[in-house]
Every structure is written in structure tokens, then in C-alpha cells.
Symmetry: C2
Subunit: 124 residues, 2 copies
DNA sequence: GTCGTTGCAAAGCGTTTGCAGCCTA
DNA sequence: TAGGCTGCAAACGCTTTGCAACGAC
């Protein structure tokens, strides 16, 4: 069974408050502000548990350490700003997926990442 | 400057012959068939050196260890087979990139990854 | 002969796991 | 009170680095 501990609550709250995907290290720091002395192993164990419970989903970007965000969002992709390093959600899909799939292959899933400058860094 | 050793030649040839991106471990195994006793550290050191020379480029997929392929190929993306874990090149682009870019953002680059079963694993 | 390169082993670094004690239900 | 949960430290897998010997030029 799942128990409600101070540590688990701190981790859930930190993720909800952040508003953007957090890496394990960032999450550890954020959770430590709520529960002093919380261990990094507890972070990893709860990341796994909360993922299995469907509370959060991993956000994996190429060449980046994994981040985690609260689950339940609509299908979306990501825009990674090279200047401020923030990740933004983008709506919609480019389509035409089947046309680029090699013959004989079975397409089940796709990831799509845009890179460049976000609206804030374009201005700066 | 750069010297032509058996090990370096074996690594270059293994990458050229493979025809698809290789992970450091895969490359180590392939190179070992050409130069017995080649060390994993040599693989990593040459991956870095050949990358700086512009001979190869890294292929980073979300949540995956990096793979490497020979540079200079036409614009393409990748298909990752969940069964055999191999990565294949796919030609073409889905297009429509501008339509999914949020207004005000500057799009500079994009990555696109297909997931599913390759032709060999579909048959099996 | 010079000095870039190699194999080995040890060191890093992020993540996982074993364990004894703690604490939620 | 039972057994899931925690902190600690050790273990782990992948990558990097120190070092003495090797070998391309």
C-alpha cells in the first residue's frame, strides 16, 4: 500500500508548485526546503513510485538529464530555448508521420523537440 | 598532431561499415573484432577526438545513451526499435514545423524520433 | 627519439539497492 | 503492531582520468 509521509508530500508539492519539469537534483533541493535532511535516495524512490501511480511523467530531452512533471496534460511536444534553457510546451503535431516511416516498420510513438529562442530571449 | 593507429582506423571503419548509429558499447564490440584487446577508454577518447575532427556526430535520443554516426549525411531523423534497441535513419521531414512553433519564438533546429518495431522485429 | 596513443585501473558521477530503524495506518 | 518508508552507505553502470609503456612519424 501507499503511505502518506512528510517526504512524499514534500515531493508532490514541490512538483506541483514548480510549474515546469524538474530534474532529480532540482527536486531534491526543492523538497529539502520543505523537509530538512530528506535523502536523495528518497527522491529517486518516490520519483519511481509516483510515476507508477500515474501522478507524474518523465520529460526526456535528447542529451539532457531527465526531468519530471505532473501527469494528465494533453498530448504535446517541447520547445527547448538554448538561451535560458527553459522547456516550453507546444501544441499540435507536424502530421505526415506515416509518410516518413520506412516500409515494413511499425510506428507506435513519436517524440518531437524544437530548439531555438523563446519569445523572451528573442526580445533580449 | 593526429596519428593513424590501428585502433583509430578500426573505430572509423566500424562506424562506416555499421550503417546506423552505434553506442560506445556497440562500437567497442565492433572495433574489438578488428583490433583484439582494444580498451573501452580508447573508444571514448577517439569518439571525442573524431567528433572534434568533424568525422562523426552524436545522435542523442531522449532517455537513451548517446550513439554516434559518420558526419556529412543529408538531413534525416531516426527510428528507435523498442525490441532490438537499434536506431535506423529515416529520410524526409514531416514538415509543418512553422505551424507548431509558438508565435514570437525563433525556430533554429528540430529533432524528431519515431518509436516502434523495425522491419526485422515486426516479422519476429 | 619525441610525444601522441594505448591498456589498465582507479576515480567520478548519477542512480539504485541493502539494511536497520522509524513511523503511518 | 505490521510492514511500508527513510537515511545512510555501499554498490552499480557508464564515462573520464592518471600513469607507465608503446609505437607512429
Amino acid at each position: 500500500m501507499q503511505r502518506e509521509t512528510r517526504q512524499r508530500r514534500a515531493i508532490r508539492e514541490a512538483l506541483e508548485v514548480a510549474g515546469h519539469p524538474l530534474s532529480p537534483r532540482e527536486l531534491h533541493e526543492a523538497a529539502q526546503a520543505r523537509v530538512d535532511g530528506i535523502g536523495i535516495a528518497t527522491i529517486y524512490r518516490n520519483l519511481k513510485a509516483l510515476q507508477e501511480d500515474g501522478f507524474l511523467v518523465p520529460v526526456e530531452l535528447p542529451g539532457e538529464p531527465p526531468r519530471y512533471e505532473v501527469a494528465g496534460k494533453a498530448h504535446h511536444h517541447h520547445f527547448h530555448c538554448r538561451a535560458c534553457d527553459r522547456v516550453f510546451e507546444v501544441e499540435g503535431c507536424p502530421g505526415n508521420l506515416r509518410s516518413v516511416t520506412p516500409p515494413g516498420f511499425k510506428l507506435e510513438r513519436h517524440e518531437f523537440v524544437l530548439y531555438g529562442l523563446c519569445e523572451f530571449c528573442v526580445a533580449a
